[in-house]
Symmetry: C2
Amino acid sequence: MTKNKKWILKKRPKGLVEESNFQFIEEELSELQDGEILIQTEYLSVDPTQRMWLTDMPGYLPPIQIDEVIRSGGMGRVIKSKNERFDEGDLVNGFMGWQTHLISDGKGFTKVPEVLPIPTMLNVLGLTGITAYFGLLDIGQPKEGDTVVVSGAAGATGSVVAQIAKIKGCNVIGIAGGEEKCGWLEDCGLDHVIDYKATKATKELGRIAKDGIDIYFDNVGGPLLEAVLFKINLNARIVICGAISNYASTDMPVGPRNLSSLIVNRARMEGFLVLDYLDKADEARQELSKWLMDGKIKHREDIQEGIENCPNTLNRLFTGQNIGKQILKI
Amino acid sequence: MTKNKKWILKKRPKGLVEESNFQFIEEELSELQDGEILIQTEYLSVDPTQRMWLTDMPGYLPPIQIDEVIRSGGMGRVIKSKNERFDEGDLVNGFMGWQTHLISDGKGFTKVPEVLPIPTMLNVLGLTGITAYFGLLDIGQPKEGDTVVVSGAAGATGSVVAQIAKIKGCNVIGIAGGEEKCGWLEDCGLDHVIDYKATKATKELGRIAKDGIDIYFDNVGGPLLEAVLFKINLNARIVICGAISNYASTDMPVGPRNLSSLIVNRARMEGFLVLDYLDKADEARQELSKWLMDGKIKHREDIQEGIENCPNTLNRLFTGQNIGKQILKI
């Protein structure tokens, strides 16, 4: 018999999560039935969207229900298989959940060739990297010479967006909090980095984006959008990818009061979800792999350890502690 | 010698305009030079955008400068011509300004065949009608069965948008203020009309748009956008055409706090200006003329009279007094 340790939802959180929002339980898994596989979690991908799934607001996936295991992407190892698609030892990618083991009929899991370290695959080649790829290229439509502003630029998605924009010949302004993050972004080759903890970012942006802004890739939500709208160029594109400043906040978010700038500048603001691009994910992975191999995309993973640290690791995203992709090694 | 009466700008207004913001002067016009025409203003088109031109904010056209005549579209009669493109008696369309007469080299003026009453031509076939046509069809992309919400629905642009949406087979919800406007919109065949003066429009909208909103055509700005964002469907299109609630307001506008809805619903918000469509204006005029002849588009003009009433007539747009197109007969 295999023992599984898992986190289930007990009470919806307000603000940052607390251990009391969950219950950490141990259970015995049943014997494998025909067609099933037993997976042992190796790494969890810890993403801002998980915080949204903990609310009861309708979203692009249903809210996690009370007593359900916390939904989470990740990679794991098949340790027993009664399914002909999978062999023991296969590395698989899919919704692992905050747990050490799970039994699955294999649907929703894909086998992954082990060409790169797992954290790198979950980062640049994972959903956050693919989000960056399609969000910037398909929604943002960058052209050489465009000025591209990226918020949350030291995060998993933001850092890849900023570097793809550089590859496409854009002038890239990244916004992040703290010296270490900003220093790393400078190493990544961004043209300008604004430290919102050290300066007033809305004002700095006005000063630095002298020639206006063609693309704003927004990962954070909040007051920066208004500052951007004051500086957009004709036919600007604003990609609404995330609003991390709101997800774990108990304050009402603020809305931009100058949407008329969209009229004067014939500009567009658009939201998107990577789920709509999954059938083209291989295209993104191939391009991203090539850029990785060529050293054109630098990447960082912040790797925490231990199934018992799931809640704390999720909070790191909202307190700004992580640099690059937040990963939890099980 | 011809005498011209005109309004020039003396002090930028705050809120509604006052006569003290302007000076009403009489001047003698010089003799016509070769290539020039003398035009007598017949009707002025009074539009919300004029209020924006009175501010010193950079816009899609330069602000009107102190001591300049107030910029305004309209139609007039050529009463003397030393330009071979124009004959005495021609009806012309262009920027007349708040004045009774003007001398021009003819650039920017087009001859208009007198097939319909001038107020109708300035309304459905004028810039506001063309704005409605391209804003809805090109930016909004309506499909049969879509639910379309139009704010400022009894205005010149809104009323044409709502009726084109009906022609295209959409379910149309119009929002306007007061019984008379709402009654007229019901006569125009809209499916639902919300009177924001009699009910709480944000709440009513939630109740009526049970199947969600596919297109929001926003002429007014302000809190309604947030209510719409709570109800949008997948791939919704929000057309930002105007923000009349802000133009003459001294309060800070409010911004929608729920832009994350654009992500969940993969939705788009886009601003546009009719000036970008002028080379295709004939296409719009032909379609709109056909619908007018077929009785598929009803129209109303609110016609005030007298050059001395320019400031008061502009204010009617912002106090909600006008129904349909605001016109000033000179």
